[in-house]
C-alpha cells in the first residue's frame, strides 16, 4: 500500500526542474561557511590589533606600528614560551606515537578476549575532558590523598614534587597528555593495521624474512599514511595545548610551563595588554600552519607509496 503511494507521488513529479544548476552547490555550502567564517573575522582583526595599543581597560587606543612585534620578539618571555611550546609538543607527541604504535601492534597480534576488551576500555581517557583528566591526575598525585604517593612511599620516595617542582612539572604535564591522547594514536594505528592487505604478507612469509625485516619494509611503509594523520592531529593540538597546563599549574612554577597559548592569555587578560598578546599567538598560528603543510605533503607521498606496495 505504502509502496503504491510513493510510486504515484513520484509519477506526478516527473517533470520537475533539473536538479543541478550552477549556483546550487554554493548556496548549499553557504550557511555552514558563513557561520564558521563569521567567527573567524576576529582573526583578521587580530592582525590589525596586534599593531595597536589596544587594552580591555582603556577606551582609546592608538596605532603603534610594529612596536608590539618588536617588543615581543626581543623579550625573553617570548623565546622561553616558544621553547616550552616546542618541548611540550615534541615530548608528548613522540611518546604518544611510539606508545600508541606499540599498544596497537600488541592488540593486533594477540587478538584474544583481553585485547578485545582493552580496545574498548582504552578509549575512556580520550573521552574525558582534558581539564577533568587534569583534575583526576591531581587527585592521583596529591601528596596527602593521592595513591601514587602511597605507592612511592613503598620505595622510600616521599613527597615527590610533581607539578610543583621546576624540574618535574614538564614531566607531569606530558604524562597527563600521554594518558589522555595515546589511545588516539592507538586507535588510528589499529585501524591502519586492520586494513592492511593480506597478499604482500603472504608472499613475505614465503620469502622467509624476519619479523623485524617485514615490519620495517612492509608494515611500516603501509602504515605511514595513518601514522601521519595521527601525527598531524596530535602535533597541532599539542602545539596549542592550554587546558592541561592551565588546569595543573596555570603555567607555573615560575614560568616553567608558560607556552605561547598561556603567555598570550596572561598578557591579554591579566596584564590587560591585548595588542601585545597577539604577536605570541600569531606566531604560533604561523608555526602550526607551516608544520601542518609539511605533514600533509608527506602524508600524501606516503599514501602514494603505500598504494604502490599493495600492487
Amino acid at each position: 500500500m505504502k509502496e503504491q503511494k510513493t510510486n504515484s507521488a513520484a509519477a506526478s513529479e516527473l517533470n520537475v526542474v533539473p536538479f543541478k544548476t550552477r549556483v546550487r552547490p554554493y548556496l548549499i555550502v553557504a550557511p555552514a561557511l558563513i557561520i564558521t567564517i563569521g567567527i573567524m573575522i576576529p582573526f583578521v582583526m587580530s592582525i590589525y590589533f596586534s599593531l595597536t595599543s589596544y587594552s580591555f581597560r582603556m577606551p582609546v587606543y592608538k596605532f603603534v606600528g610594529l612596536n608590539n612585534w618588536v617588543t615581543t620578539l626581543q623579550s625573553s618571555t617570548f623565546w622561553q614560551a616558544l621553547w616550552v611550546t616546542v618541548r611540550y609538543a615534541f615530548f608528548s607527541t613522540v611518546i604518544e606515537m611510539l606508545l600508541g604504535l606499540g599498544v596497537a601492534m600488541m592488540l593486533n597480534n594477540l587478538n584474544n578476549k583481553f585485547s578485545k576488551i582493552l580496545r574498548v576500555a582504552l578509549i575512556f581517557p580520550l573521552m574525558v575532558a582534558p581539564i577533568t583528566a587534569t583534575i583526576i591526575w591531581q587527585l592521583m598525585l596529591n601528596n596527602s590523598v593521592g595513591i601514587v604517593e602511597k605507592f612511592l612511599n613503598i620505595f622510600g620516595v616521599y613527597n615527590f614534587p610533581w607539578a610543583a617542582g621546576a624540574s618535574t612539572a614538564m614531566l607531569t604535564v606530558v604524562m597527563i597528555d600521554v594518558w589522555i591522547n595515546t589511545s588516539f594514536c592507538m586507535l588510528l594505528v589499529l585501524a591502519g593495521l586492520q586494513s592492511l592487505p593480506k597478499s604482500p604478507f603472504e608472499s613475505a612469509k614465503i620469502d622467509g624474512g624476519s619479523p623485524w625485516f617485514n615490519f620495517v619494509n612492509l608494515t611500516l611503509p603501509m602504515l605511514k599514511p595513518s601514522l601521519y594523520i595521527a601525527l598531524l592531529f596530535r602535533l597541532m593540538a599539542a602545539l596549542q595545548e592550554y587546558a592541561v597546563i592551565f588546569g595543573l599549574t596555570k603555567g607555573g612554577p615560575g614560568n616553567t610551563l608558560m607556552n605561547l597559548s598561556l603567555t598570550a592569555y596572561q598578557t591579554g587578560f591579566h596584564f590587560q595588554k591585548f595588542g601585545a598578546a597577539l604577536p605570541y599567538i600569531l606566531v604560533l598560528w604561523l608555526f602550526i600552519n607551516l608544520v601542518a603543510k609539511q605533514i600533509v605533503k608527506r602524508q600524501r607521498a606516503a599514501q602514494r607509496q603505500a598504494l604502490g606496495l599493495e600492487e
Binding site: 564558521t36 567567527i39 582573526f43 587580530s46 600488541m106 575532558a129 577533568t132 595515546t182 592550554y242 592569555y265
Partner: protein, 274 residues
C-alpha cells in the same frame, strides 16, 4: 623451539598490555573510589573505608552542579544541532557536486579545526561584549561551531561519498524529487555515520574548555569551567571534587561506547576509514 619463542612473545605482550591498561584505567577507577570516601577517611585510608553517598548528595543538591550540567547540555546540543542543519547539506554538496574552489572551501572549513583557540578567543572576547552576546547561550553555540562544524562536514562528506552516484541517478530517472532522494534514500543510508559524527561533535563540545573559560561568565557556566571552582575552594573536599569529575565525564564515555565502530573515522575527520 619456535612455539616456545612465540609463547614467550605472547606472554611478554600480555604483561606489557596489562601494565599499560593499569596506567590508562586505574586513574578513572581511583576517581570513582574517591567519590564514595567520606571526608573523615580521605587522608587515612586507601582501599578499605566506609563507603558513603554523601559526596554525591552534597554536589548534586547543595551546589549549582546541576545548573552547570544543564548549561553544558544546552550549549553542546545547540551547537551540534546548528552544525547538523547547516553542515549536512554542505557535506552533501562537497561530496557530490563539482564546482570551482570546492577543495579550497573544504580545506578552509577544516582549517578552523587547527586554528589556535586562544587566537580566536582573544578578539572574540572584545566583539562578543560589543554585540552583547558575551556570556550567553547564543554566543557559545556560535563559537562552538568551530569545534562541531568541521568535524561534521568532513566526516559526513565521507559517508556521502561512499554511496554510489548510480543509486541517485536511478532514483532520479524513476522520477523522485531531490528532497525525496535526500530524505528518504540518502539520509537513512548515512544515518549511522551522521549519528556518530553528531555524538562525537557533542563530546568535543561538552569537553571544550578554552572557549567557555573566556567567553562565558556567570550567566552560562558549562561544567568544564565550573569544575575548576571545586578545585579552588581550598577546603580539600576531594570526594566532592571526584564526584564532580566523574559525573561530568559520564555522558562523554557513554556516548563514546555507543559510537565505537565509527570512532576512528570520526576522530580522523574521515581520513582513516576504520
Amino acid at each position: 623451539m619456535k612455539t616456545n619463542k612465540s609463547l614467550l612473545g605472547s606472554i611478554v605482550q600480555n604483561v606489557l598490555l596489562v601494565i599499560y591498561a593499569v596506567f590508562a584505567l586505574f586513574p578513572l577507577i581511583w576517581m570513582v573510589i574517591l567519590t564514595f570516601k567520606p571526608d573523615a577517611e580521605i587522608y587515612t585510608t586507601t582501599f578499605v573505608f566506609h563507603p558513603t553517598l554523601n559526596n554525591y548528595r552534597v554536589v548534586l543538591f547543595e551546589t549549582d552542579y546541576l545548573r552547570y550540567l544543564r548549561d553544558s547540555l544546552i550549549v553542546s546540543a545547540g551547537a551540534v544541532a546548528v552544525s547538523v542543519l547547516a553542515g549536512v547539506p554542505a557535506a552533501y554538496a562537497l561530496a557530490r557536486y563539482n564546482f570551482k574552489k570546492k577543495e579550497d572551501i573544504a580545506f578552509q572549513i577544516l582549517s578552523f579545526k587547527f586554528a589556535p583557540e586562544i587566537l580566536v578567543v582573544l578578539p572574540l572576547f572584545m566583539i562578543f561584549q560589543k554585540l552583547h552576546i558575551y556570556d550567553s547561550y547564543f554566543g557559545l553555540i556560535w563559537v562552538y561551531q568551530l569545534i562541531s562544524m568541521p568535524l561534521l562536514i568532513w566526516v559526513v562528506r565521507g559517508y556521502f561519498e561512499d554511496i554510489s552516484v548510480e543509486i541517485e541517478h536511478a532514483a532520479e530517472v524513476d522520477g523522485y524529487s531531490w528532497y525525496q532522494i535526500f530524505f528518504k534514500m540518502l539520509l537513512p543510508l548515512i544515518k549511522p555515520g551522521l549519528v556518530s559524527a553528531a555524538l562525537l561533535a557533542f563530546i568535543f563540545a561538552w569537553n571544550s574548555f578554552t572557549f567557555p573559560l573566556i567567553l562565558a561568565g556567570t550567566n552560562v557556566q558549562p561544567i568544564t569551567v565550573a569544575i575548576t571552582k571545586f578545585l579552588g575552594t581550598g577546603s580539600a573536599h576531594y570526594g566532592q571534587l571526584a564526584v564532580a569529575a566523574t559525573l561530568s565525564a559520564l555522558p562523554a564515555i557513554v556516548f563514546a561506547l555507543c559510537i565505537q565502530k565509527h570512532l576512528v573515522r570520526g576522530l580522523s575527520f574521515g581520513a582513516v576509514k576504520g
